[in-house]
Amino acid sequence: MTALLETRGVWQRFGGLVANSDVSISVGRGEIVGLIGPNGAGKSTLFNLIAGVLPPTQGSILFDGEDVTQMPAAQRCQRGVGRTFQVVKSFETMTVIDNVIVGALVRNTVMREARRKAHEVLEFTGLAARADVLASDLVPAEKRRLEVARALATEPKLLLLDEVLTGLTPTEAQTGVALVRKVRDTGITVLMVEHVMEIVMPLVDRAIVLDLGKVLVEGKPADVVRDPKVIKAYLGDRHAVGA
């Protein structure tokens, strides 16, 4: 079977700055893939290219066997790409359930069904008790979970998670990890960007390390963390020798 997501020789330039150069990655169905790398490695750019925020300068992006390179974000969402935002973007003046209904409307045109779907997702993500609270009144960890819930309500094939585990307390992060596993168990493929390796490595099936806009290393998490190139990229030369 073909990969669910594939990028072929993707470049992104902002003026003179090259954020991604010749990035070719693929994500298979049912995988949890971690996209990691130090600050400024081009993770977020690649993430936004896949989500459809902007088209790449060069190269192509294939989703579910279809070329989606030029497709705007809203249409990709209809094709089955769901995403969260690194800086949470809740609909602040709407209640939690209403936030999720917006997502559910992609596949449910009848309000009653969209609402039922939204409740289901809230139950799944553990936000059911907060359904009628305004999104602006949620605590940060809940807002992150709301982002995931909203994306799940669109019934994605691929869920893009942008640093959903960063900045959480250890307990909150554990709950988050459990949620990601649960999501995968329902058959949804997950591609997650994380900056902190410790959190994601135990969770992902495969890790792709970006550095300076290029794919540095790709492989099983256990191998990746031991790779001298990765250690060097993260910690600088000094530590690489010791490792």
């Binding site: 809203a74 709407m94 917006v102 997502g103 909203r150 669109t154």
Partner: protein, 327 residues
């Protein structure tokens, strides 16, 4: 929870029906023409503000140029009537359609603008419209159009001896705008609009067609406002550019919603019920002096209310939100 929600929707509908019923009976007790006039204007502005609220409150595209659609409605109706003998009822529809089309045409370039740039563009376009009508000889230019009065007639929607038909039409318009809002609030469009207002990027990522959401809101909003404009033209039976397209209309459509609670179902009605009688009364009481007391009172109130109640008067009634800690 779903039941609670459904109950709330039903309750809103019942309250609206009761209020409309009470309003419909007021002419039985209120015979004073001045008061009837105020009631008609109040209902009209409630309806207009409700329509404005669709684009600016729900969808978050603050327009201070809705006078354009109001004027277009008035002019389309009266031009069709005086030049081609088309009955105002059809003119009203035509005005609505023309306005909706123009709103969508303007939407193409306008909706790329954000924040203040958008607001100023809306003011500017209404001002351009005003100036063009001022110089358009065929449409009466600065002289405007006087609607020939040929006696009371439902067909021509003009009445000399009684204001009651106008009253009921204004009431119907207000109810229509309210009902459209109520209906759209729990629809895909309603959710899309609020999502676009709160965060267009997030909305986009959830499959919301941001651009078309704005277009839809603009069309509905402009259509209803234009119908209001047609009505107003029939009601005052004389129009000129200033008196139907002046900036004050843009302001008077926005203020009730802002005062009552922007982006809410009841805000515009509540705001209009307080603001319009107040406007008319201050004008009536102090305005004759030409000394601006009405403006002072009016302006002070706007400042105070916007400062004290940023969410509008409606926020006084809403129960405190449940904000307990997470489980």
């Amino acid at each position: 929870m779903d039941k609670e929600f459904a109950a709330r929707r039903r309750r809103d509908l019942i309250i609206a029906a009761v209020l409309a019923g009470i309003a419909a009976l007021t002419p039985l007790f209120v015979k004073d023409v001045v008061v009837q006039n105020i009631l008609i204007l109040t209902l009209m502005y409630a309806g207009l503000s409700q329509s404005w609220n669709i684009l600016s409150g729900y969808c978050g595209q603050i327009s201070l140029g809705h006078a354009l659609y109001f004027g277009l409605g008035a002019y389309t109706t009266e031009l069709l009537f005086t030049k081609f003998g088309v009955l105002p009822w059809f003119g009203m529809l035509a005005g609505g359609v023309v306005s909706a089309l123009i709103a969508m045409g303007l939407g193409y370039p306008f909706f790329r603008l954000r924040g203040h740039y958008f607001v100023i563009a809306t003011i500017v376009i209404a001002e351009i419209g005003l100036l063009l009508f001022h110089n358009w000889d065929w449409a009466g230019a600065a002289m405007g159009i006087t609607i020939p009065i040929r006696g009371d007639s439902w067909l021509k929607f003009q009445f000399l001896r009684t204001k009651l038909p106008y009253f009921y039409f204004a009431l119907a318009l207000c109810c229509l705008a309210w009902f459209v809002t109520w209906w759209l609030e729990d629809s895909k469009w309603g959710f899309w609009w609020r999502a676009v207002k709160d965060n267009p990027d997030a909305a986009e990522s959830l499959g919301v067609d941001v651009f078309n959401s704005k277009m839809g809101a603009a069309a509905v909003s402009a259509f209803l406002v234009a119908v209001g404009g047609s009505f107003y033209a029939q009601f005052v039976s004389y129009i000129d550019p200033e008196s139907v397209m002046g900036f004050q209309f843009s302001l008077l459509m926005a203020l009730p919603a802002v005062l009552g609670g922007i982006g809410t179902l009841w805000g515009p009605v509540l705001g209009a019920a307080i603001l319009i009688p107040l406007t008319e009364l201050t004008r009536f009481k102090f305005g004759g002096s030409g000394r601006g007391v009405d403006l002072i009172v009016y302006g002070t109130l706007i400042v105070l209310i916007s400062l004290a109640l940023p969410r509008g008067l409606l926020s006084l009634f809403s129960r405190p939100k449940k904000t307990g800690a997470a489980r």
